[in-house]
Symmetry: C2
Subunit: 464 residues, 2 copies
């Protein structure tokens, strides 16, 4: 067996990320750096090489004496360098390389799509999803997404919520949230081996048709009837044929469910607190990365909504505002058709660019489980945000066993279990779902949702 | 619009969970409690009601004067109670209820599957997945799972890793990790609208066949070539027809990938540190819940491996040990067939019950991307644990463009992108995947993997 002592600490001895070096190194320190060349400038005696390892948006400048410049030292190449920390004339930490070697070359003429010192559009970069994490802007996006993800877990943990992994595979297809994907084994031999008489291929593996989840809410409700406060954060799916800048076939949703809640304002408070606390955490941790990602620089000041209470209006009030501004819309507004994207964005603008709740929706515009207010509306909310419109939706849930049974979609014996949550030890519950990519678009001003997720999937596109 | 001030703080005023009350309340405090009745005992003048809200394994005892006992106060019912905190004769915090009301009754004869004061087997409870979170033991499991989940994010964040959401939908089906599920839209009209000439139904939506991921590794490698240290934590899928106590069709995997790593011991150090740090965090936060979950009480002391270095043996050494103990196995051991479950468990037992690395596997037993050692073996590892056997697997990755190209599965043009990671700015990388449910089985001594995931999916079973 390996000598144990030889193994310990190996990994950590080699940890020193560029982020760590820039924050903690002092002139004279001997360091070792690994990363990718972002740019180089030849000067009289030295080559100045900017290197990134993805740990921060900042680069470490490495001075390489011309005479020891290795072959293949070019933008995109990976390098290992060691030497002493020095200060640049401007007082920046830099590395005077004693050794530098190229691990892997990167030759643009071999087909590398990013030439040195060129700017590319997001659409161009998106063609190369496997190389996109190497670009400065998308690297920053991935760090922002990471910071927001961690902030979500931190926030819910502080608030006493328990994370529950709701399933991706489900036999429900009836929540009215849109088109679904069905799932079956690829292998003919698995299908043959498992087939029971009278089954279609779609039913063989699970003894029933199975789908990719459109929402973890119903499962979360089961957990909330026992754990009181629960949330889930994971991928959800829509098989829509949509190519909008705001839709994906696979996207992340953050859903929370709270028991013993019988006023919609409690759900609103949950949503508002989450959005503000995650945003503040991201700004505190990753301001440089946020600035790098933001497409619309002029909107930098727009985090002013962090200090404001989110306005609340009823659907009826929203209709009134929109009717007063009919001439402003490309598509006619009709209160029975609901809000289009331009109407959502107008309402946010009308409220000073602050994320805005629209509540008390007509029953027919919301799912069956939303609790009736008794006047034809239900206790449901949408949160509308700048740039994206709807970013979250939620409601109180119908917790009366008999009333819920009457509202249940017909012919859906698979939802017996959902009714039973109300039959035994029923409690008033409420909850919401927030689209994580929409949220990132909101804080970053990103036009296209495909640019805030590492590997976007949309109609005709599932590369990698 | 709603008066804003009326909304603020509403939710938090009502927060006081039983966990919070038990930790912070003092006799004389006036409190309000919401939860489910776990048991009741009638005494002369009072009814003693044990109530849980899922925030902790502990219950709050509520004293209800017999004369104010509401109708329907029975096990499983949901209640709201308020009154003053008092101390029991044993010095425990309890609530002398001034008001108590039943929100939702729970009548066993209406079909509630859990009668008061009865113990049920995990198999029985598993038939009622929607009600399972209400049971004491499964509630504890969900809290342990939550604690482990948070500890995973904390650990990787501290170690400088960036979380990357790798996709569930993928066009790769060739990693050799097992049978896959394919995915297509359920709607005939979506299929008709999107159909291009010559396409099968399977190809219409994404212009190619698409599958549920068996691993996020290849995508993580793309991110590691830019961010250096990345991880993903989410569901993965196998369409196997397996009913073992260790397999699910949908399960969670934790995968990490590190750039600039060229020794397998670095990957081992990553795995060992992760397993120990997450386990320690779970024990620190949730010891009561862990004790409630553990099936084999006699194994309580077995966390002794936390203080030990995980042993390491080569596959060849493992073969030697197994050959020396041929008589102990139900199935004959053959070095060319690899380790069966009983062999894995034997090796762990042989190493004193401490999780054990087996490294340097024959090339043909590991995927194409594992880096060759030059002697017919590859730089790959399995981590074997008590109760479960294999809990993690990893390797150094082949980072030479030409050698990787030769090893790539034939007829897979969809992996061109994976090759390109090595063509441009290639770096040595290594990584691993850890089965999260297996890990939970390991620390909890749980026999069946279906009892450590909220909503298990396995052949013929996708209820809810």
């Amino acid at each position: 067996m390996l000598a144990q002592s030889a193994r310990k600490g190996y990994f950590h001895k080699n940890l020193s990320s560029i982020c760590h070096i820039l924050e903690t190194s002092k002139p004279g320190d001997v360091i070792r750096v690994k990363g990718w060349v972002k740019s180089l400038r030849d000067q009289k005696e030295n080559v100045f090489v900017d290197v990134s390892d993805g740990s921060t948006d900042r680069k470490l400048q490495i001075l390489v004496p011309k005479k020891s410049k290795p072959g293949g030292l070019a933008t995109g190449a990976s390098i290992v360098a060691s030497g002493r920390v020095t200060l640049s004339p401007k007082g920046q930490i830099e590395l005077s390389a004693r050794d530098i070697s190229v691990c892997g070359e990167c030759v643009v003429s071999d087909g590398y799509p990013f030439a040195p010192r060129k700017q590319y559009t997001p659409e161009y970069v998106r063609q190369y999803l496997h190389l996109r994490p190497r670009t400065a802007k998308f690297g920053a996006l991935l760090r922002v997404r990471n910071a927001a993800t961690l902030a979500v877990y931190d926030h819910f943990n502080r608030e006493g919520f328990i994370n529950v992994h709701t399933p991706i595979l489900t036999s429900n297809d009836c929540e009215g949230a849109g088109e679904v994907f069905k799932v079956l084994p690829e292998s003919r031999s698995v299908l043959r081996a498992m087939l029971k008489e009278g089954q279609s291929d779609d039913e063989v593996y699970f003894d029933r048709k199975s789908f990719l989840t459109v929402s973890g809410q119903l499962h979360l409700e089961a957990a909330a009837h026992g754990l009181s406060r629960v949330y889930t954060f994971g991928p959800t799916f829509r098989a829509e044929n949509s190519r909008s800048r705001l839709h994906l076939s696979e996207f992340y949703m953050l859903e929370a469910e709270v028991a013993f809640v019988d006023e919609l304002r409690a759900v609103m408070e949950c949503v508002e607190k989450l959005v503000k606390s995650v945003t503040q955490a991201v700004l505190d941790k990753s301001m440089e990365d946020v600035e790098r990602c933001r497409e619309k620089k002029e909107s930098s000041a727009s985090f002013s909504w962090l200090d404001k209470t989110f306005p609340v209006m009823t659907y009826r009030e929203a209709v009134g505002i929109l009717n007063d501004h009919r001439d402003k819309f490309r598509e006619d507004f009709s209160s029975s058709k609901g809000l289009g994207k331009e109407h959502e964005l107008f309402l946010v603008q009308h409220c000073g660019g602050v994320p805005t709740f629209v509540i008390d929706w007509p029953q027919e515009m919301k799912p069956f489980y939303a609790r009736a207010n008794g006047d034809g509306t239900v206790a449901a909310l949408d949160l509308l945000g700048p740039n994206v419109g709807e970013v979250a939706g939620g409601s109180l849930r119908e917790n009366d066993h008999v009333r819920l049974g009457e509202k249940l979609p017909k012919n859906n014996s698979h939802l017996e279990w959902y009714l039973e949550l109300r039959k035994f030890g029923s409690v008033p519950t409420g909850g919401f779902g927030l689209g994580f990519e929409r949220y990132l678009q909101l804080i970053l001003g990103t036009s296209n949702i495909k640019d805030v997720i590492p590997f976007p999937r949309w109609p005709h596109n599932c590369t990698l």
